[in-house]
Symmetry: C2
Subunit: 334 residues, 2 copies
């Protein structure tokens, strides 16, 4: 498995990208990594590590797409950027998948332009894995489409269903619509219309509406929403988990008995922190493209990048992209 | 202060309503409570408690609005319900505020019909107080308006600003727009247009966009969003806090050292659980009505109802409703 990695995506690029790649190669997560970016900088950084040299290939790219760039403009005009070049490597078949920790909007725009959208599909989406009490749930869209039509949500549901089946091996994944009440008539204009479509969709196992509180309880394996709502959900889960750890830490400091207690319970906190930590989940998959494009968190450290490489490699090994393509190409879809 | 309480709103009604009222009177939270509902049942329930009899008045109502009722239909047709009768008591001036633990949609519809909307205001909203690391934040709308126009959000911002000022005594509350990125150009059609309005609104202290993760960090005292997104946010915060406590409990069970640790840290957990617990926050205020209408959680127990009575009484004592009315009546608002 060959993975293309945009070495200039993360907030501290290229340091975590370089170290994460070395870790991934040493752990045999994939065969070869194509590290894309300024070759001088990358050569210097890589020289600090000991690893099988032939398994990390540097591909030079002059430009960088930053967080301040306008996503679609940058994707079109910065053809020599590390991000676009990584996707081009995938398009031409030199690598089996592309990974970037950069500007999510730009990765989506560049992936669409370079790899193209699956035939008959309304819109690609960004899918993430969220931790739940029971395990995890796939949520989509979490940001590619801030304004959606009901039929987009119907297609997201199909892609989410296939994702849970072919990547997580759930036999008949429960697909739910994120809404503000469980009854079928609840919601805004979008979710009311989407409910009718999902109810009539025989290719999925639609279980109805669920609310924000049910997602982390594990009420469904696949949660469907528009990109605005999904993004708020994702970031709120992240924020509350972080805030609770902060509050526990601050309170524990004030009381030495509680401090001793917290030390004894440390493995529990470590377990839960790990479970709630985005960097353990490897990144978000852009579903509905002709290829594999993964975007990771800008704040990723080397371990998070190693995990993202692992996740990307797992997707490339699975036949999920092919299953999605097959569904929309062969089936008569609305 | 006289509070009207719908005795048949909560999931276990009227038991928590009756006990909560007795607790509130004993703690002198308000002068008199008008308990509205089936007088036979209420008389029997109240007879189980010892309290100053003259301070809880039973007002008979035959009907009950349930969770299965269509909100706006029930508000119009069930004129003899405990919920509508409670609001009528407030309208005619027999009580200073109305409180119900019932169907939120129905409370909103009945409040609008009975009390009426503030002049010149686009739409009333449901405002809640969410816990943050720093203290708390007022979030609105959390469910009254599932589909919003940009100008509604502009009015929500004004009401939220006045809320934080006149109820929580924040001098110049920071008002933020909940969005999927911090930059002004980010968002969906609604938030992009709302941003422009909020930026030009000189009656508030608009600090720009914040993301889901920033809300619980305490980035703003007032958070503006449409009712769909606000409802997802509110329920996700509630769900994640609950899920984390569940996970901690389950992990602690597996390891006796961690169990001892958790026992020693118990005061910390109790503190945080209390901080994250909706029943400590007293309920949601329907802002933008000619009067005071508060809706509490359906799952409320007696203590939660006592807290809700305290909260309702505090609003009635403040001059927040008058300030909101004054603003929209006197100012030339868009």
């Amino acid at each position: 498995m060959k993975i293309g990695l945009d070495a200039f995506g993360s907030d501290n690029a290229p340091f975590p990208e370089v170290e994460g790649s070395v870790m991934a190669i040493k752990e045999n997560i994939c065969e070869t990594i194509y590290l894309v970016g300024n070759s001088e900088v990358l050569t210097k950084e890589l020289s600090k590590f000991v690893y099988p040299k032939e398994r990390i290939v540097i591909i030079h790219a002059d430009e960088v797409i930053t967080m301040d760039d306008n996503a679609s403009n940058a994707a079109r005009t910065k053809q020599n950027s590390s991000m676009v070049k990584t996707l081009q490597l995938h398009k031409e078949g030199s690598v089996d998948a592309a990974l970037s920790m950069g500007n999510t909007g730009a990765v989506m725009a560049a992936s669409l332009l370079t790899l193209g959208r699956v035939k008959n599909l309304h819109r690609p989406a960004i899918a993430v894995t969220l931790p739940t009490v029971e395990g995890h749930a796939i949520v989509l869209d979490v940001g590619a489409n801030a304004d959606c039509k009901p039929e987009y949500l119907d297609h997201f549901a199909i892609m989410g269903y296939l994702y849970a089946r072919f990547l997580f091996n759930v036999e008949n994944p429960r697909v739910a619509l994120l809404n503000i009440g469980e009854e079928s008539k609840k919601g805004n204009e979008l979710t009311k219309k989407a409910y009718t479509l999902l109810e009539g969709n025989k290719s999925i196992n639609f279980i109805g509406n669920i609310e924000g509180k049910d997602v982390v309880q594990g009420a469904a394996e696949v949660v469907i929403c528009d990109g605005f709502v999904g993004n708020v959900l994702l970031k709120t889960v992240e924020g509350v988990a972080y805030a609770m750890f902060t509050m526990i830490k601050e309170q524990v400091k004030k009381d030495w008995i509680a401090k001793v207690g917290a030390m004894l319970s440390f493995p529990v906190f470590r377990f839960i922190k790990k479970k709630m930590d985005h960097s353990e989940y490897g990144g978000a998959l852009l579903v509905g493209l002709n290829g594999v494009s993964v975007v990771g968190h800008g704040r990723s450290n080397a371990t998070a990048i190693k995990n993202a490489i692992k996740f990307t490699s797992r997707i490339a090994k699975s036949n999920l992209p092919q299953q999605i393509e097959k569904f929309f190409t062969e089936k008569v879809v609305s």
